[in-house]
């Protein structure tokens, strides 16, 4: 503990702690608690009814599929981008880094809109797709595209700073010892960034499964076909099926809690394997 001369008085400390805890309780803990209480307040019966409902099941299934496509795509991109950016010096590098972060500053609704403008019935490729009888908007491909867009930066932005901090010395050492490029990457680079990679995957997955705005614009809300879990929440809520809406929400909230727990565990146990900004 610091000396009293360099710290606030005890009562003031406790007052500040109390205010901070109250603020976080009001804005973070209470909404989370509300989800579980509302889901359970009619008992387990209606909850189970929701979880065995065909539309809910298909929404869960679709959410899993979307995440299973999105995360690997952005993973490959993240690794490729981080390798090029962190291990080489080239022109336009800082521009490339800013462009990677671009999706974070675009409203999810706007991201959805851009895909409607591209592939919608009146979009740029609309007539072409119509001729070939391919549906992207109001179908699963559109949902995947919108999700890939909004989760685009997550993995790259964990890997880039860490790999920049690590430099190229270890890779160069491996090459001088006779390892091939691919082998160097697999045995030297990848093990060095595995925790950051996992961290990025966790965040990317959470957002992919939870994305609402962008997906809502391109989905068309067709029950059993193009509804992801967050969209199912909206439909049930708008039908005044609150228990159902909160039951699906409870699953998503559970996912959020698991993500938070895993993320915190990585921050505590493997801080040295994460970019400096993540260590706290």
């Amino acid at each position: 503990m610091r000396e009293t001369a360099l710290s606030e008085s005890r009562p003031l400390q406790w007052l500040l702690i109390a205010v901070a805890v109250a603020f976080l309780a009001l804005f973070l803990v209470l909404p989370l608690a509300a989800v579980f209480v509302e889901a359970l307040h009619r008992g387990v019966g209606p909850l189970l009814a929701t979880y065995t409902d065909a539309d809910t099941l298909s929404a869960i299934w679709l959410t899993l599929i979307v995440a299973a496509i999105t995360v690997p795509l952005n993973l490959v991109f993240g690794i490729a981008a981080a390798w090029a950016i962190a291990k080489f010096e080239f022109r336009g590098k800082s521009l490339l880094i800013s462009l990677i972060d671009l999706p974070f500053s675009v409203s999810p609704v706007v991201s959805g809109l851009t895909f409607v403008l591209l592939f919608g019935a009146k979009g740029v490729f609309g007539p072409l797709l119509d001729d070939w009888d391919i549906k992207i908007i109001f179908a699963v491909p559109g949902i995947v595209l919108a999700t890939v867009f909004v989760t685009f930066p997550f993995i790259a932005r964990e890997l880039i700073p860490l790999m920049q901090e690590q430099g190229t010395a270890e890779e160069e050492a491996a090459l001088t010892l006779g390892a091939s490029g691919l082998r160097t990457f697999m045995t030297v680079t990848l093990p060095n960034v595995r925790w950051a990679l996992l961290y990025g995957v966790l965040l990317c997955n959470a957002r992919a499964m939870g994305e609402f705005g962008a997906v809502s614009v391109v989905s068309g809300h067709i029950r059993g076909l193009t509804n992801t879990m967050p969209l199912q929440v909206e439909i049930l809520y708008n039908e005044y099926n609150f228990v159902g809406a909160f039951a699906v929400s409870a699953l998503l909230a559970g996912l959020a809690l698991v993500t938070l727990a895993a993320k915190s565990l990585l921050e505590w146990r493997h801080a040295e394997g994460l970019p400096t900004a993540r260590r706290h």
Binding site: L6, A80, A84, K87, E89, F90, V110, S111, L252
Partner: protein, 286 residues
């Protein structure tokens, strides 16, 4: 890569390196980036530009759009300001004090990043509705929170909090204890040290965090629409109006509003970057 003699170093695109794989990884990354991110955004701007500047201006200044933009920007700004105060306080308490449950609280700060926005939306709506846990406390006084702009404000505070905490926290963490000691040996009271030495040093990070929270809040959709009530001219946010226009197949109108919002987010980003560049140049000597 051909290296021109003598002046070679200056005109090559990439500095020569012993490591392999530059061409293929950069090629893949830029192609993927172009297809997934740049192409859609370019089409959006192109689509809106068909209206011309006057056309966009006309759409943006219709009373309903203006009202929606005002609701979005004003509530986002207010929420960001509240987060500036409480986010700094939370960061301070998490970094400086040790108390039971500190780590749990620290982890909880990221909840708004992890919780799907639709879930947050219905949870907040349930809490602040006139018959909800919190709404019921205010209802007897005739105060409505959910389904009014106050509800939007609550949702945007929720969404923006981690941005402020997570940008201020590391700066506070790395703040040298010696600097505070120096202030004390020079005769400053604890309050003077905090307000003249510590907090001013946090300003660049705070501005960044507030701008990030603001930019996110302006574009936020999922957590807001359930609690907002979505009454045109009162509690209708700009992103919702885009969705409405889309449902009416008014692509041009939707694009115009989207471009206005994009422009404003980029201005916010620009502010962040220049604040960071300025403070780096002045205070870090980089």
């Amino acid at each position: 890569m051909t290296v021109a003699p003598v002046m070679g170093q200056r005109f090559t695109f990439v500095r020569p390196s012993a490591l392999p794989g530059f061409g293929i990884t950069l090629g893949f990354a830029t192609t993927y980036l172009s297809l997934i991110v740049l192409l859609p955004l370019i089409v959006l701007v192109w689509r809106a530009s068909a209206l011309g500047f006057d056309g966009i201006w006309q759409v943006a200044t219709t009373p309903r759009v203006l009202a929606a933009l005002e609701v979005s920007f004003v509530t986002s700004a207010l929420a960001a300001l509240l987060n500036a105060v409480f986010g700094t306080l939370v960061a301070w308490v998490l970094v400086r004090y040790d108390f039971p449950g500190r780590r749990l609280l620290d982890a909880a700060v990221d909840l708004p990043f992890a919780l799907p926005t639709a879930v947050a939306g219905i949870a907040l709506a349930a809490l602040y509705a006139p018959n909800g846990w919190i709404g019921a406390l205010f209802a007897p006084w005739g105060i409505k929170i959910a389904f009014t702009p106050a509800g939007i404000f609550i949702a945007l505070v929720f969404i923006g909090l981690p941005f402020v905490v997570r940008t201020v926290q590391p700066v506070l963490q790395d703040f040298e204890c010696e600097v505070e000691e120096a202030s004390a040996t020079l005769g400053a009271t604890r309050m003077q040290t905090v307000f003249r030495v510590v907090l001013p040093a946090l300003v660049p990070a705070l501005v960044t965090g507030v701008a990030l929270a603001f930019a996110r809040a302006v574009g936020e959709y999922g957590s807001v629409i359930f609690i907002a009530g979505n009454i045109p001219f009162v509690s209708e946010i700009a992103p919702l109006l885009i969705v409405t226009r889309l449902e009416e197949f008014d692509y041009a109108g939707a694009s115009a509003i989207a471009v206005v919002m994009l422009t404003i987010s980029f201005v916010a980003l620009l502010i962040i970057n220049s604040v960071q560049a300025l403070s780096r140049r002045r205070y870090e000597g980089a």
